[in-house]
């Protein structure tokens, strides 16, 4: 019989099992496992069958005891009666306990999912810290056949994404409760999205970058359209999907052309093949990375590839907007830095002017277009375009020899700070938006300071930080970026940056002014005396982000230090 299952061992046919480096791919694997667990939990408990089957099993076990007893008494077969009885008893007790556990979890499925999700994120953070230590002590390395890079930048980007994920989970929880939507799927999608971003952060191969981009994009499309009660959400999801699919295709085309020009998709190999190459001579390569720049520019919402941003930021559920602003930008900028600064640094004369142009256009478009908006979410969407422009300043000086890697660390620092400011601001907007997110126009914010002084004060803090007012983290972030540009001798772009920051400050002050002016009844929808509900998850999010924004504004040294150590990009 055994012969049926054996095959003669044949070396040619033997299945080679690949080696897995669990440390390198740990964070995304953990998040993915958590997402799977949530999906499984939700589908297990959704139908009633589990309860029924468990009930049957419990009844069976209850009857099994006496039956077994009598069998043992009268049966002709002698067996170890005591051991068997104990097994049956334990099985009975165990299944009763399991059934009780299931019925408890059934009542709190969403809470259980949240616990799983948070546990997943925290374990991922732990692995990231371990990776950080390895990188600091023994340097960067690649693994999994060169597809995954573990270096300072990867770990930094992963850290920021994971923190944003925690905030996203908290805000999402509050929002789901308020809107009475089905929760577990949202949490699972958020985790899958974060999985894609983590993979992207450490992707050392253009194919991995593309697949990771698709993973988080698809999850984001769905999360954008998640709110089935609001038609705007559906519309935003569709717009994002169509434009996003188009931009992914452009990115993929760029990858294909780059592969054609260099013969590899591995970023390290690509860099090796570029030595001694004059970029302008190789048309395939030029068009290749131009298309990749367009694709990634779309994801980071840099002008002129920003058309989707206002509509999607406005239409998407606010926690999703917060996550999108905080995490997507970081992940996409991580890939941008890795590809252009890490691999194509030898061709910097070819791509730097383009990034320079993108930075200027983004800053100007983002700041100027925000002035004429009347919707707060839309305003912040435009401001996120401007912020992408500031980060791009850092990116384009990153290869400057006398600026050193200051550009990279400035960009990373800015991204980390922007995540905090954006998440905090959108958290307040989520609360003010009320159920169905109806209240997001500038008029709805009138009189907020009188009604909710703390909330208004915190939103003011986040907005001032985004404007770059001293003693907030936003100031330090802008300062590092401009300093990197000035160090590299680029006064013009720093000047344009400061001017656009001034214009943007006007936008933020409009919101602040609106909150502190007008009376309590200036707002159209809120019923008199109807206070805003700020539940615990949102409370945690807002206070944490506010504290960090203040902390890094006063003592930015630690995070700056980390960002400086995070500039090791493997290929570079």
């Amino acid at each position: 019989m055994l012969a049926l299952f054996t095959q003669p061992i044949d070396a040619a046919r033997m299945i080679a099992v690949p080696k897995i480096d669990w440390l390198a791919i740990g964070p995304p694997v953990v998040l993915f496992t958590a997402a799977l667990a949530i999906v499984l939990l939700a589908s297990l408990l959704r139908g009633r069958s589990l309860q029924h089957d468990l009930d049957d099993w419990v009844v069976l076990c209850a009857f099994a005891g006496p039956i077994e007893f009598w069998l043992g008494r009268f049966s002709a077969i002698r067996y170890n009666h005591d051991v068997f009885s104990i097994i049956v008893m334990l099985a009975g007790i165990g299944s009763v306990a399991f059934a009780m556990g299931v019925s408890i979890v059934r009542k709190h499925t969403f809470a259980a999912s949240l616990v799983i999700a948070l546990a997943g994120v925290i374990s991922a953070v732990a692995i990231t810290v371990a990776q950080w230590n390895v990188v600091r002590t023994s340097g960067s390395f690649t693994s999994m056949a060169g597809a995954v890079a573990v270096d300072g930048m990867a770990v930094f980007v992963m850290g920021v994404v994971l923190v944003a994920t925690v905030f996203g989970l908290l805000l999402g929880t509050s929002w789901i409760r308020r809107e009475q939507l089905e929760g577990p799927e949202f949490l699972a999608l958020l985790l899958l999205c974060a999985t894609g971003m983590l993979v992207m952060a450490s992707a050392n191969d253009l194919i991995v970058v593309f697949v990771a981009l698709e993973v988080f994009s698809i999850a984001l499309y769905v999360m954008t359209a998640f709110d089935r009660h609001r038609i705007e959400s559906q519309e935003a999801g569709l717009k994002y999907f169509l434009l996003g699919a188009f931009s992914s295709a452009i990115f993929l085309y760029g990858v294909a052309l780059t592969y054609g020009a260099t013969g590899s998709t591995n970023l390290v190999t690509i860099r090796e093949s570029l030595t001694g190459l004059v970029g302008g001579d190789n048309g395939l390569l030029m068009v290749g990375f131009a298309l990749m720049l367009v694709g990634l520019g779309f994801k980071v919402a840099a002008a002129p590839f920003h058309m989707w941003t206002p509509d999607v930021y406005q239409g998407a559920p606010t926690p999703v907007t917060a996550f999108m602003a905080g995490a997507t930008k970081v992940a996409a900028f991580g890939a941008l830095l890795r590809i252009f600064v890490g691999s194509f640094d030898l061709l910097q004369t070819d791509w730097r002017p383009a990034v320079y142009g993108l930075a200027i256009v983004s800053m100007i478009v983002g700041s100027v277009a925000a002035i004429v908006q009347t919707d707060v979410k839309r305003m912040l969407a435009y401001s996120s375009i401007a912020h992408a422009g500031y980060v791009l300043i850092g990116v384009q000086v990153a290869t400057e020899s006398n600026g050193g890697l200051g550009g990279t660390s400035a960009a990373l620092f800015y991204l980390g700070i922007y995540m905090l400011m954006a998440v905090g601001a959108f958290a307040v907007i989520q609360v003010v938006g009320r159920a169905r997110e109806t209240d997001s126009s500038l008029d709805d914010y009138k009189g907020l300071a009188r009604k909710e002084p703390v909330l208004a004060g915190l939103l003011t803090l986040f907005l001032l930080a985004q404007a770059g007012v001293p003693l907030t983290a936003g100031f330090v972030a802008k300062l590092t970026v401009f300093k990197a540009a000035v160090d590299a001798g680029q006064f013009q772009i720093a000047l344009i940056g400061m001017l656009s920051a001034t214009v943007a400050a006007f936008v933020y002050l409009r919101i602040v002014l609106s909150m502190y002016s007008g009376d309590e009844h200036g707002s159209a929808t809120p019923v008199e005396g109807n206070r805003l509900t700020v539940d615990l998850p949102v409370r945690i999010t807002i206070s944490l982000t506010a504290a960090l924004v203040l902390l890094f504004g006063v003592v930015p040294g630690w995070l700056l230090d980390v960002a400086e150590h995070a500039t090791s990009i493997l290929a570079g």
Partner: protein, 407 residues
Amino acid sequence: MNALFAADPLFNGDGLWGSIFVVVLLKVVIAFVVLLVSVMLYIWGMRKWIADMQNRTGPANAGPFGILQTLADGIKLFFKEQSIPSSADKPIFRLAPYLSILPAFLMFCVIPVGGKINVLGHETYLQVVDLPIGAMFILGCSGIAVYGVMLAGWSSGSKYPLLGSVRASAQMLSYEAAFGLGILSVLMRAGTMSTREIVNQQSWTNTDGILQNLSNFYVVPAALGFVIFIIAAIAETNHPPFDFVEAEQELVGGFVTEYSGIRFAIFFLAEFMNIITMSAVAVTLFLGGPNGPMFMPARFGQSGWVNGTVVPILWFVGKVLLLTFGTVWLRASVPRLRYDQLMAFGWKWLIELAVLWVLVTAGILVLGDRGWNPAAAGVLSFGIAGAAYGLLYLCMPKSGETVEEFR
């Protein structure tokens, strides 16, 4: 050349033209004619068998035992007037029958019917072409088989054909996955996709015992794969009990309602040709193809014309006959499913089972490569797969049960 297209001794030398071209052409023509004749005989046999099972005589007038009945039907259909509905999309209406017969024939091209023969001084396999990637070719052909049915229904410009073709396309797509996974469990064991290689691995050695030889056939180690493959293949070919394309009670004649004359005959032909081809595929992948006990090797030798050519063909034909008889038996005895049952079965049971079976196979093979005791590897793989299936079972709402929503 040899490397690019097919591993056939025919192409070992230089050159493509002249007698080699003639040999290839001959093989194609003979295969087509043989397939057509066997369809004719199958239809006759089916009617006779079903008649037997239902205590009737069946066709009895045309030729001895009515064996020419199919031919007579074909001639009648050939001379009938062909009508095209005025609302039809005419080019596609005309194209559809050929689209439906093409994959059935193409799939047969990679089936090894026997060993090697000598033709016109060239040694060649008894097989139209031995693609190095034959199994994927089979999958590809079954993938494009849906076009004939789908376009026939749509181009008729009529309600029932359209319904029939929509049903058919959903059904064929749904079972395609299980079909592929069923084949995959064989490919994993064989380590090759060439149909001839797969057949060669299921060899029959006269000196070994029958059980030992039978366990060489993949139907034994990949037993569940065989079951999955057969069910999926029956659904792919729209054979009863899965013949929803032409459910008479609901859809008049299904996708062929508007067809008449020779075009209808071609659809008819394609349907039964599909059954024969699928049986041949199953025989090749799971039942050892032309391999079987040799006929008195002591007297006739191992590779003479008896045991090298005739006996393998006989074994192949015999095995195909066995499977085709099985389909007739099904047609006679199993009533048609309900459409939602078909879909639920395909998506909720068959595909999961097929995936788990592939995982079990992988587990056994990989653990075996690492020197595990095969029994332990089997128990572990089956245990994990069983636990996964149990979880799936718990996740699926039972029939008639409402799904609760979490808020």
